[in-house]
């Protein structure tokens, strides 16, 4: 079963990693690398990417001729934005939650677990086999 695990982070960067000590930043980054490596070694990682900051995000809609209409920064009202995701292939939903919990526990200032909210969404599969 495949799941997409989505990590969100507050839009306000100053409340984020920018105010941490170098040691805390280092520990956090090391945690993320270790986490990715362990998922790969467990044979559960399908794909993962980190995203750029929302400053670079644009919203595109088609005009009546199908041409792209590009507008600036999406959803200025939202307080959190997607910063990275993992697609994992796991045996059970419980395992997906377990992985999400690990991702959520990434260390923050003073080594405290951040408790980042991780959205877990099953990936739609093929149609059922008719019998």
């Amino acid at each position: 079963m495949k799941y997409m695990l989505m990590m969100h982070t507050p839009r306000d960067m100053s409340g984020g990693m920018e105010s941490w000590s170098p040691e805390d930043v280092k520990n956090h980054i090391e945690f993320q690398h270790r986490f990715d490596r362990e998922l790969t070694e467990a044979g559960e990682m399908v794909f993962n990417e980190g995203l750029t900051f929302p400053d670079q995000a644009l919203v595109v809609r088609a005009d009546d001729k199908g041409a792209p209409v590009v507008t600036d920064g999406p959803f200025p009202e939202s307080k959190e934005f997607l910063i990275g995701f993992w697609i994992v292939d796991v045996a059970t939903a419980e395992r997906a939650y377990e992985i999400a919990a690990t991702a959520s526990s990434a260390p923050g200032p003073g080594g405290q677990a951040l408790g980042i909210p991780i959205e877990v969404r099953p990936i739609a599969g093929p149609p059922p086999i008719e019998v």
């Binding site: 920018e18 000590s21 170098p22 930043v25 980054i29």
Partner: protein, 435 residues
């Protein structure tokens, strides 16, 4: 089947041999049948067959002739398909020689080296996007399989197969001929080839993934192909310049990435981990090339890389020389990124204020470019203005598209915020100039 007593060639040996033979075999088959698209597919199949058979059955006496025979047989089978027949007719039309002078003489000795050169020019054809040209070059000239190329670019194999197939169709439609560009077109076409090789190198060099070991090494492959091109065109100084630039940059690779995939900028690298043999080769190459005259951008960038590589310690870097070289580069190939790098060198020679003044001249051209913010941040730090430096690095962090660089910038911001003035600050560190 296999010769039990004599150990067969190792898989790596076979692969190396095949990759060396690949462009020559393709050149021969494409020339013979005048159908680049089908010849390319047929040669891939012949290479695959060889890579599975040779390690167990041994390498045939004349491996090149074996591959040509197998590929030719495959090509004729492919031609029997309806769709392929249509393609052949298109291709024949596209490859129709324009004049008698272009017709390859039947009695001429097979000019295998020329064929490799022809292939490179064809695969780096200006009608292709850079991404397509890189992929096609790696397959047709480099002899990599589609699966390997897909792995190198981290895209699914069918995506890469489609990209390569479309690239070949684009070449077919463009009417490109299997011949060397004429004198008028030569410069521009060679420039396209060099760009494709450089992009291939950068793609490999930029990857800092933990699983990079599982992927084909695009930097090494680009160096191999540029070496090959250098042998074919020994008089082209920019080819030698590009090769020197790659070798001198690649020499620092082991020191560039920390154990956690973290970026280590040039001034903080452990220079003991630099590849001394590669540096010696690159320095010799660029020194010999620069003496020939007609200096181009790749030679200048190689010369700058050589100055960095020759410094035993970061503090011993000959910044006045680097500054002078960036000055020449800016005149030869004006480009705001070059100015950015010159500002770094200028700061190291005349102090950060001089560098910051120079930066303000490219504000318009590089508005919003994160590299500008990175460099300005570091120069502001050198100038002692930590708060302004943090503001710049924050803007840079929001603008970078590299996870490794983002991590690096966040670490730098944290360092700046907590740094105390009496600690010997690594502020003599303008970041890594990127040529």
């Amino acid at each position: 089947m296999s010769v039990a007593d004599t150990p067969g060639p190792s898989r790596t040996e076979v692969e190396d041999l095949l990759r060396e033979l690949a462009p020559r075999v393709l050149g021969t088959v494409a020339r013979k049948y005048r159908d680049f698209d089908t010849a390319e597919d047929a040669v891939q199949e012949a290479l695959l067959a060889a890579s599975t058979q040779w390690p167990t059955q041994g390498v045939p006496e004349s491996p090149e002739a074996w591959l040509v025979t197998v590929a030719s047989r495959r090509l004729i089978n492919m031609w029997r398909g309806d769709e392929a027949r249509r393609r052949r007719e298109d291709a024949m039309f596209a490859m129709e020689p324009r004049s008698g002078a272009d017709v390859p003489r039947a009695d001429a000795a097979p000019a295998e080296t020329d064929d490799t050169l022809l292939l490179l020019f064809l695969c780096c054809h200006p009608t292709l996007t850079h991404a397509s040209a890189v992929a096609l070059t790696l397959r047709a000239v480099g002899g990599l399989t589609t699966a390997q190329i897909a792995a190198a670019f981290l895209v699914p194999e069918p995506t890469m197969a489609q990209r390569i197939s479309r690239a070949k169709q684009t070449i077919g439609r463009s009417g490109a001929r299997f011949e060397l560009p004429d004198r008028d077109g030569w410069r521009g076409r060679l420039a396209s080839v060099l760009t494709v090789l450089y992009l291939t190198f950068s793609e490999g060099y930029a990857s800092v993934d933990a699983d990079a070991l599982l992927r084909p090494d695009l930097s090494r492959e680009a160096i191999r192909l540029t070496r090959l091109l250098g042998r074919l065109l020994p008089e082209e100084a920019e080819v030698a310049g590009l090769l020197a630039l790659m070798v001198l940059t690649d020499a620092r690779r082991a020191a560039r990435i920390g154990p956690q995939g973290d970026l280590i900028p040039l001034p903080r690298q452990d220079r003991g981990r630099w590849d001394r043999a590669a540096i010696a080769e690159g320095v010799e190459l660029i020194s010999a090339t620069l003496q020939k005259g007609a200096v181009g951008p790749y030679q200048l960038q190689a010369a700058i890389a050589a100055v960095h590589d020759e410094a035993e310690r970061a503090e011993e870097t000959d910044w006045p020389q680097i500054l002078a070289l960036y000055g020449v580069l800016e005149r030869v190939a004006p480009n705001p990124i070059v100015t950015l790098n010159r500002a770094v060198a200028l700061s190291m020679v005349d102090g950060p204020r001089a560098g910051l003044d120079l930066l303000s001249t490219v504000d318009d051209k590089l508005a919003g470019h994160y590299r500008l913010a990175v460099v300005r941040g570091h120069l502001l730090e050198m100038a002692g203005d930590r708060d302004a430096a943090v503001t710049q690095l924050r803007a840079a962090a929001a603008g970078t598209r590299s996870q490794a660089e983002l991590a690096f910038l966040l670490t730098e911001i944290a360092r700046l915020r907590t740094a105390v003035a009496d600690v010997n600050p690594p502020s003599r560190d303008p970041g890594t100039p990127r040529a």
